[in-house]
């Protein structure tokens, strides 16, 4: 394998346990279910065709605007599939249904007038999850499997595998490209004027005239816009964070600084400018090292419990399968923390 191939494999397919992916599945689909539960996507069926301006995807697949009844049925099934996906019940068909119907239902609105880009990350993430083994942990499917086959090793202990890391890395990479593209677009369209002029102050003020897809949640932007030099600092920080964001893929320090920084930026935008980017926040769930948090919490609980009540040393890592190789010495099995390059990796769930 070439150097590039090894790096690619090491980045995407470093073996990790299934816990992180399972928690991400539960929270991501759960958030989507709650966010879209009361939203009626079927109303697009009633909009006049005069507004119709099909996007390339719908044109290529010849997807029509379905009737109201059909859309009501589709969104009901979609919302149920989101709930099932979150619970990890019939995970594979649920996640595929979520993805397929999500592409249509979320894409439908973009055929009318203006294509927003805030929900594209949701579609790509659902696609990753549909292709993944996200139901192997923290799922009803796993519980049922354990009850049916308690003696089978696979039923009780998900192995460490590259299958459990690549979907999380996929979301990381997409988010990195999204925010890098936003930074590049600003400099390409406006150069340093985007930062050095009154541009951001004007933008903030304009959004108080009901210009964006949602109004600012507070009046703080009006106060902020009155301090041009402060706003220019914010503008510089915004572009800086966006352009630097791809560093989060290779640096733990960058992740610790830029991920919370960008999340704060999205919150700030909602508060002082208005545009609703909540959907991006759902994807930020994939940055959190849930398994490390669970381990730290477990360690604290054990440390606080009386010595006599502590269990015997619990394994830090998930046990792996034992499959003897008939005609060769038994190969070294993957354990959490191993990598193709032979050194501890820096992947999701491991040394984040």
């Amino acid at each position: 394998m070439s150097w590039g191939g090894r790096q690619w494999t090491q980045f995407w397919f470093e073996p990790v346990t299934a816990t992180n992916l399972g928690v991400c599945r539960l929270l991501f689909f759960g958030s989507l279910f709650l966010f879209y539960l009361r939203r009626d996507l079927s109303a697009w069926a009633d909009v006049s065709p005069v507004f119709l301006s099909p996007i390339a995807l719908f044109e290529a697949l010849h997807l029509p605007v379905a009737s109201r009844d059909t859309l009501v049925g589709m969104q009901t099934v979609w919302k149920l599939s989101l709930a099932f996906s979150s619970l990890g019940l019939l995970t594979r068909p649920s996640t595929w249904t979520s993805f397929a119907l999500g592409v249509y239902l979320l894409g439908l609105a973009h055929n009318f007038g203006k294509a927003h880009s805030h929900d594209a990350i949701l579609v790509l993430t659902m696609g990753f999850m549909a292709l993944s083994r996200c139901g192997d942990s923290c799922s009803v499917d796993t519980l049922l499997r354990r009850r049916q086959r308690p003696s089978t090793p696979n039923a009780r202990y998900p192995v460490a595998s590259g299958e459990y890391g690549w979907p999380i890395k996929g979301v990381w990479v997409v988010l990195a490209l999204v925010f890098f593209a936003a930074g590049v677009a600003k400099l390409r369209a406006s150069g340093l004027d985007w930062i050095a002029s009154d541009n951001l102050s004007i933008m903030i003020l304009q959004n108080y005239y009901h210009r964006a897809n949602a109004d600012p949640l507070t009046s703080w932007g009006l106060h902020l816009a009155g301090h041009p030099w402060l706003v220019r600092g914010v503008a510089a920080a915004t572009v800086g964070v966006e352009l630097a964001f791809p560093l989060v893929l290779v640096s733990r320090v960058a992740r610790a600084i830029l991920v919370p920084g960008l999340l704060l930026m999205l919150v700030g935008i909602r508060l002082v400018m208005g545009p609703s980017f909540e959907q991006f926040a759902f994807a930020f769930l994939f940055w959190v090292p849930w398994d490390r948090l669970a381990r730290a919490s477990r360690t604290k609980r054990l440390a606080r419990s009386p010595v006599d009540d502590r269990p015997n040393a619990a394994p830090e890592r998930a046990p792996t399968l034992r499959r003897p190789v008939p005609s060769a010495p038994a190969p070294r099995r993957f354990r959490a923390g191993d990598s193709a390059g032979g050194r501890p990796g820096d992947g999701p769930g491991q040394g984040w």
Partner: protein, 176 residues
């Protein structure tokens, strides 16, 4: 499910990831990355791939001009700007504005705009009758091009300095 064995050059075995599965996933990931990079480099929009160019054009003057729907209240003739989601749903104000701007640029736009504004009025009235919103009954819906000199505290939102009537659609009797 029988786990696969993927033998890597250094010997370790991933019990769930076969070489074919790895190649398949690599192709999928490569397509997603390529789609994002291509739209970034070519500065195009192909949902779900985007160049994320919102708010990239620098604003240079403290002014704002945009098309906006304004309802004429039945009886009083009072004008009310309709920008809240509950009045224009399923559009939001940005998407509706984008749609109207597109129609304004098309040939034969008068007929298209009339149909568009009539559709907005129809949906407004349907929502009002279904109690989806608390807006008053309208006798007409107007499309204006509104212009503001931005006030530091946005005190003139409801009183734009410039108003250019583009189109008016009167409510039909049977629609009330």
């Amino acid at each position: 499910m029988t786990p696969y064995r993927a033998v890597l050059p250094d010997g370790p075995v991933d019990p769930l990831l076969s070489p074919w599965r790895k190649r398949f996933l690599s192709v999928i990931l490569g397509i997603v990355i390529a789609g994002s990079v291509v739209t970034l480099v070519a500065s195009t929009e192909h949902w779900p791939f985007s160049r994320y160019s919102m708010y990239s054009q620098a604003r240079r003057t403290y002014t704002l001009t945009l098309p906006r729907l304004v309802g004429v209240v039945e009886g009083t003739g009072e004008e009310r700007q309709l920008y809240e989601f509950k009045y224009i749903q399923p559009f939001d104000q940005a998407r509706l504005r984008g749609a109207l701007v597109k129609l304004l640029r098309r040939t034969g736009r008068e007929a298209l705009l009339e149909e568009a504004v009539r559709d907005c009025l129809r949906r407004y009235e349907a929502g009002r009758r279904a109690r989806a919103h608390d807006g008053p009954p309208l006798q007409a819906l107007r499309l204006y091009r509104l212009g503001w000199n931005l006030d530091p505290w946005a005190r003139n939102v409801e009183h734009p300095e410039h108003k250019q009537l583009i189109l008016e659609v009167r409510a039909r009797g049977e629609g009330r």
